[in-house]
Amino acid sequence: MQRRLLLVLALLVTVPTLTVVTLGWRMLENQRRVARMELETLLDERLADLEQTIAAELTRLEQDLATELEPERDGLLGTPPTSAEALRQLRRESGLVGMAFVLDPQGNLTYPPAAGPRSEDEDAFMVRTRDIWAGRAVLYEPPTPEPNVELKKRVSRSSARIAGDDMVSLAVRRPQGWIAWYWQDGLHLLFWRRLESGGVIGVEVERVVLLARILGRLPSLPVGEDRIVLVDSRGDAVHQWGPYEVPAGEAAVTERRLPYPLDGYRLAYHLAPARGAALLGASTPLGTLAGLGALVLALLGLGVYAYRESSRQVREAAQRVTFVTQVSHELKTPLANIRLYAELLDADLEDEGGPRERVGVIVSESQRLARLIDNVLVYAKVRRGTHRVTPVPMRMDDAVGRVLTQFGPALAAKGIEPEVTLGAPAPCRADPDAVEQILANLVNNVEKYGASGGVLIVRTEQDAAVTRVVVGDRGPGVPAAARARIFEPFYRVSHKLSDAVTGTGIGLAIARTLAEECGGRLALLEDRGPGAWFALEVPGVREEEA
């Protein structure tokens, strides 16, 4: 009983606890993910601001470069500075502009000269850019702006590839543009502009100067303890803001590509661990955790309480049973003296009637009390599982005789005439005390409920295997509705005080238990006409006892 209770309680506590912990864990994970996404969005917005500043500066640069290549420049009205001299002049004057180049409408390079005398710089330039002139380079043009392009993080403003095209045909579609390519130490940029003649003029932009201009324009960032790193196309840090020393290999919280044509570069945001913990911790649901913990504790507490409460009840029930047993035993000693002295007094009285009848009542009532006590004791022992019977060879007819002798005066007082047919003189196998207790309970029921019939019928019969006692009366019998339940403990056919019949309601339950413990059975006979009829069957003696 106790073990089963423990198991149920453990299940009752464990299952909700596991569910709560699992759900709580998933909720926490979810909250953490949301918090991280919110943080990333926040940081990404900062990078987007930065990116916009850079994009604006690049636009300004593009305008500046376009101005440099304006035809009006240097008074060459209507003529862009296409001559070698003019271009060299341009390079000298502008720190931003490196080498220049000019293409005729057919796409042939007119400057630097394909053949003829070239300076060292012009030679190096030709080497750097030879893939472009050979048509082997992949040329890009800026992407057409799309709506919501800003929302596409990290891939926003990536440039589109122009396949199988050259710069002249590109110039047909656009007045000016950038060409980015990689050579040795990284990204190189060319700015080009369409010429009236249909050719193209372009300059190589000094990357260092370009970056310096861009960085110079950038505001002092509110980085706090974090670090933002500008990473070039090879993955090297070009510039960084903020004090946080990023350990090698740490992934950025969020990254953003720079706009075209610097889209090989990216901005990376590294969050200082302390600040990250603080930002993410702020959204760590301490309250939720505490709530879950409290719930689990409450469940555990409830389980422990329920266990202690029920084991206390079990203990108290056991104590009650022990108490009842003790009291019942204590009752037996005075009862034994009452009966003994009543019988001794009876022996002293000479004449029948009067005083002897009264003494007879004392004896018979003390016997009734003794039977009640025996029932209570047996019931308590059955409940505790400590009840034992000792079946031995015994004579059923003798047991019936003893019980009827005991009940003689009580039956006579109620006007019940015993009709006894004894047919079981050979030994059967049962516990004599148990059999007498069963028979006493049956006869007691006849005395209490069947008196109106005026007769108690007891019949014994036997064969080798079974010895049978039938006890019946001609009283009102057992109501059909009650038949299924009369062997249940504490079940009583009538609880009405007006019936004036008393009892504990355990007699038949005990009788049946005792019968089964003796290896026999006790049943209600339903086809015997008026009255209540019961049959007790016990096994015959074993062969070696016969």
Binding site: K332, T333, L335, A336, N337, I338, R339, L340, L344, Q367
Partner: protein, 230 residues
């Protein structure tokens, strides 16, 4: 026959004593286990009746001690607690019977007689095996008498009284003589006790107790057995 009774409850002890004396036994009654062992050694009883819950030494232990010196003396347990009268344990200890409290006088007397009968049967047979009073055959070792196929239960004292009548046919036996036969030399109950016993005995052995033929009254003296009373 001498019976040792060990019982701590004084009323119960007195009651048992009275029943056994009524049956014609000489009773030694003690109130605890140690006294029981002591009394057993000094009185050498023919039969022992032990309560189980007793001060100093319980009934089981007394039983063990007695069994060590005698394997045959009949022992009967008395108890209010069915747990205590563990039938298996009782058998292992060599008890002959047990009686549950509360018990009836007749039930107790019948059990004692049954045990006594067994003891008499195994005892050396210096008693006559049977004697006849009119149509009644008395079987002293059985504590019974037989008339035709009818058996009559008798107490030890009743057997002694009948024996006394049988041994003195036709003689008027005075009260002292009958007391000596039934109660022994020491006991001296009042004359009413004797009359009660004769009255009970007549109910058992006479065909018509109102006009007795075996035990006749000798007014002013006592009783007489008239062998030619038929």
């Amino acid at each position: 026959m001498k019976v040792l009774v060990a019982e701590d409850d004084p009323h119960m002890r007195r009651g048992i004593e009275e029943i056994l004396e009524g049956e014609g036994y000489q009773v030694v009654a003690v109130a605890d286990g140690e006294a029981a062992v002591e009394a057993y050694r000094s009185h050498a009883p023919d039969f022992v009746c032990l309560d189980i819950m007793m001060p100093k030494l319980n009934g089981y232990d007394v039983c063990r001690v007695i069994r060590r010196s005698s394997a045959t003396v009949p022992i009967m347990f008395l108890s209010a607690k069915s747990e205590e009268v563990d039938k298996v344990l009782g058998l292992e200890l060599g008890a002959d019977d047990y009686v549950m409290k509360p018990f009836g006088v007749k039930e107790f007397a019948a059990r004692v007689r049954a045990i006594c009968r067994r003891a008499l049967r195994t005892a050396p047979a210096h008693e006559v095996s049977q004697f006849i009073l009119h149509d009644l055959t008395v079987l002293p070792a059985e504590l019974r008498a037989r008339r035709g196929d009818q058996l009559v239960e008798l107490s030890l004292r009743e057997v002694r009284l009948l024996r006394c009548f049988f041994e003195h046919p036709g003689q008027a036996l005075d009260r002292d003589r009958l007391f000596a036969a039934g109660w022994g030399h020491k006991a001296y109950p009042n004359s009413r006790t004797l009359d009660q016993h004769i009255s009970k005995l007549r109910k058992k052995v006479e065909l018509d107790p109102t006009s007795p033929r075996i035990i006749q009254t000798v007014h002013g003296l006592g009783y007489r057995y008239e062998p030619t009373g038929l």
